[in-house]
């Protein structure tokens, strides 16, 4: 191969030879991989305002986590933390609490990767004790949350069990006066479908049993009485327009009010999903929110390297089958 006193190598023919061309191409690809910059591409992310209901009914333990009962709030927190961890980098999330009748913004949108630790910490720290009032006027809160999301320029994820406290007068929520669909988003219904007791706490935050039927407002007696009031026992148009008997009901128990939440969501042009557990919120949220273009980058090196690898292997192995079979060896 080398010691032959040959005058010249067949350079011109070698240059045109497929093996040299393949190896040279592989070399060029590898060198390109060494210097190629990351390519700018557009990826999709999300910008979300998360509003979490922290009212008393969210303390109902009708989920299980690791075989133990878990409250709706804990399950919602776990689901949101997982969602934040799964969002593509560059997505931004703002967090607000809901109780009484309006959302309370904790922080404006922050990026989910660089600022993951404080975001995750803030989600983990959500607690019913942060509630500044005991009321839970879901419809009013949802309408204001939609306005807040519009103001922040984000989409909305509103986690609630849909239990209005006190009950709505006549069962009718206030009308939505925004433009339906102007803000995209998702109402997440938290809670089981069966009625469960609501834990009750003393002023120091220690649990002291459950709410009984007489502990909560069973019927909203503000405003005009319902149409059937005349047939009630002890009805008197002036002195007892709602009848004379204390209202009975199941407002001291709680389940996810799915038809009501679906109706509220539809009125505001939002989607609805049920919170099935700590997982599974990613797909409905990403399906409901508007995809936002994010600047991302694509590393071209794996593609170049893989092509080079294939070329080298092909060059080396082109003669392999013949060389392995003795009879096919060249004479």
């Amino acid at each position: 191969m080398s010691a032959a006193p040959s005058p010249a190598l067949p350079l011109a023919r070698n240059l045109r030879g497929p093996r040299f061309l393949a190896l040279a191409l592989a070399l060029a690809l590898t060198l390109a991989a060494l210097v190629a910059p990351a390519l700018p591409v557009t990826r999709t992310g999300a910008e979300i305002l998360m509003v979490v209901d922290i009212t008393g009914s969210m303390n109902v333990r009708d989920y299980t986590q690791d075989g133990r009962p878990a409250s709706r709030l804990d399950t919602a927190k776990a689901a949101l933390r997982r969602l934040v961890a799964d969002l593509p980098c560059g997505s931004r999330v703002a967090l607000a609490l809901f109780t009484e009748r309006r959302p309370f913004l904790l922080f404006a949108p922050i990026e989910v990767c660089a600022d993951f630790a404080p975001l995750d910490g803030a989600l983990a720290a959500l607690d019913w004790r942060m509630a500044w009032e005991g009321d839970s006027r879901i419809a009013a809160g949802l309408h204001r949350a939609v306005a807040m999301a519009a103001d922040l320029g984000t989409d909305l994820v509103f986690v609630t069990d849909g239990q209005e406290t006190p009950p709505l007068p006549g069962g009718e929520p206030p009308p939505f006066d925004g433009r339906p669909g102007a803000v995209r988003g998702l109402v997440v219904g938290a809670g089981g479908y069966a009625l469960s007791p609501i834990p009750r706490y003393d002023e120091l935050g220690r649990e002291k049993g459950f709410y009984g039927e007489a502990d909560v407002t069973q019927e909203n007696r503000f405003g005009p009485p319902p149409a059937d009031a005349e047939s009630r026992e002890g009805f008197n148009p002036r002195n007892a327009p709602f009848g004379s008997v204390a209202a009975r009901g199941t407002e001291h128990l709680s389940s996810v009010r799915e038809p009501y939440l679906k109706r509220l969501a539809a009125e505001a042009g939002l989607a609805y999903a049920h919170l099935d557990g700590p997982g599974g919120l990613d797909a409905p949220v990403l399906g409901a929110v508007a995809p936002r273009a994010l600047r991302g980058s694509l590393d071209p090196r794996p593609i170049l390297g893989a092509l080079a690898l294939a070329l080298v292997l092909a060059t080396l192995c082109a003669g392999l089958p013949r060389s392995l079979i003795p009879s096919a060896r060249p004479r």
Binding site: L9, F20, L27, A122, L320, S323, R331
Partner: protein, 347 residues
């Protein structure tokens, strides 16, 4: 060796299963095959043998380098603890409804700035002024709300401060807010701790809670700064009420007395306008000049380039060899039957 594996890694480990492909050059040279009547006819040639070995090694280097490069090798990032100037700052911010009024106690109109908007503007400048400060943000009205746990991510803290001029809530319940703000300090010792309390009013602290707070303050020993955003005409911290001097009659004065009795470094700033707030924040900044250990994260270092470099070197040698190949059969046929098509045994 284990240290090497601990500090180095690959992004996609499964690609390393392709690594045995690097042994292919041992069985397939990929060079042109020349037909020889007898292998013994060729004289023993150490140089040729060495060149053959070098080309096999080049093939191994090329394939191995490409496979390793595809797997994305890196040297893992590190956390290095350094000492800088800074402090752990726990901010406790009043979000009661009155914070949305101006310093004159009116609804802001035109160019007027509410107390919340002024604190938002000035605090946003305070955060990030010094690189190594850590911040936690707690808001309170009737109940305390943990907005952001202690973090060095100043962007996130500014996002939390950006939310403080939104409509506030009900009342001012100082005691629980103080307890939560104190709970934000970590366990590390020897760090300057600052509790920055921003409010436009005060409230009576229940005597039972007072003892608990006293114990917490004694344990954590933060430097306490109270930025009292005083509305014009409302009582000052130092005003004695005309009638009975009870906490109910003058909550601001008695909160100040409570803070003084804690035995920790404490200063109160009474600000009656945005400029006074700015001055107070500048003073606090000047006072807090203590060393703080901070972690610097050295990012992971990409080693893919090295792997591709090795592969490129091997490929260069292989390509040169392919270029410099002699074709004995071709030469023989060229000498013999010139018109005959050269019999190539290209591999």
């Amino acid at each position: 060796m284990t240290a090497l594996f601990a500090s180095h890694g690959v992004a996609t480990p499964w690609v390393l299963w392709l690594l045995p492909l690097a042994l292919v050059p041992l069985v397939a040279s990929g060079r042109r095959r020349n037909a020889l009547p007898a292998i013994a006819a060729a004289p023993a040639d150490p140089l040729s043998r060495r060149i053959g070995l070098a080309l096999t090694l080049s093939g191994i280097a090329a394939l191995g380098g490409l496979v390793v490069g595809l797997a994305g090798p890196y040297r893992a990032g590190e956390r290095i603890t350094r000492i800088g100037i800074g402090a752990q700052v726990s901010m406790l911010i009043d979000r009661s409804g009155s914070m949305n009024e101006t310093f004159a106690g009116k609804q802001p109109s035109g160019a007027e700035e509410s107390k919340a908007a002024a604190s938002r503007r000035l605090l946003a400048g305070f955060v990030g002024e010094r690189e190594h400060d850590l911040f936690a943000v707690t808001a309170f009205s009737t109940a305390p709300m943990l907005v952001m746990p202690m973090t060095d991510r100043h962007d996130a803290v500014r996002a939390a401060i950006a939310a403080i001029d939104r409509p506030g809530l009900d009342y001012t319940n100082v005691a629980r807010g103080l307890a939560m703000a104190l709970a934000q300090f970590g366990a590390d010792r020897g760090v300057s701790r600052v509790l920055l309390f921003i409010s436009d009013g005060a409230a009576v602290i229940d005597p039972r809670v007072q003892n608990q707070l006293r114990a917490d303050f004694a344990k954590i020993r933060p430097n306490l700064y109270w930025l009292f955003l005083r509305t014009k005409g409302s009582p000052s911290i130092h005003d004695r009420p005309e009638g009975e001097d009870t906490p109910q009659a003058a909550p601001e004065r008695h909160l100040d007395l409570f803070f003084r009795s804690l035995g920790i470094p404490y200063r109160a700033f009474e600000a009656e306008g945005p400029q006074a707030v700015a001055d107070a924040i500048a003073q606090i900044e000047a006072l807090e000049r203590d060393p703080i250990p901070y972690t610097e994260i050295r990012p992971r270092h990409d080693l893919t380039g090295w792997a591709y470099g090795v592969a490129a070197l091997g490929l260069l040698l292989l390509a040169l060899a392919a270029l410099a190949e002699a074709d004995l059969s071709a030469r023989r046929t060229a000498r013999g039957v010139a018109a005959a098509e050269p019999r190539r045994r290209a591999a």
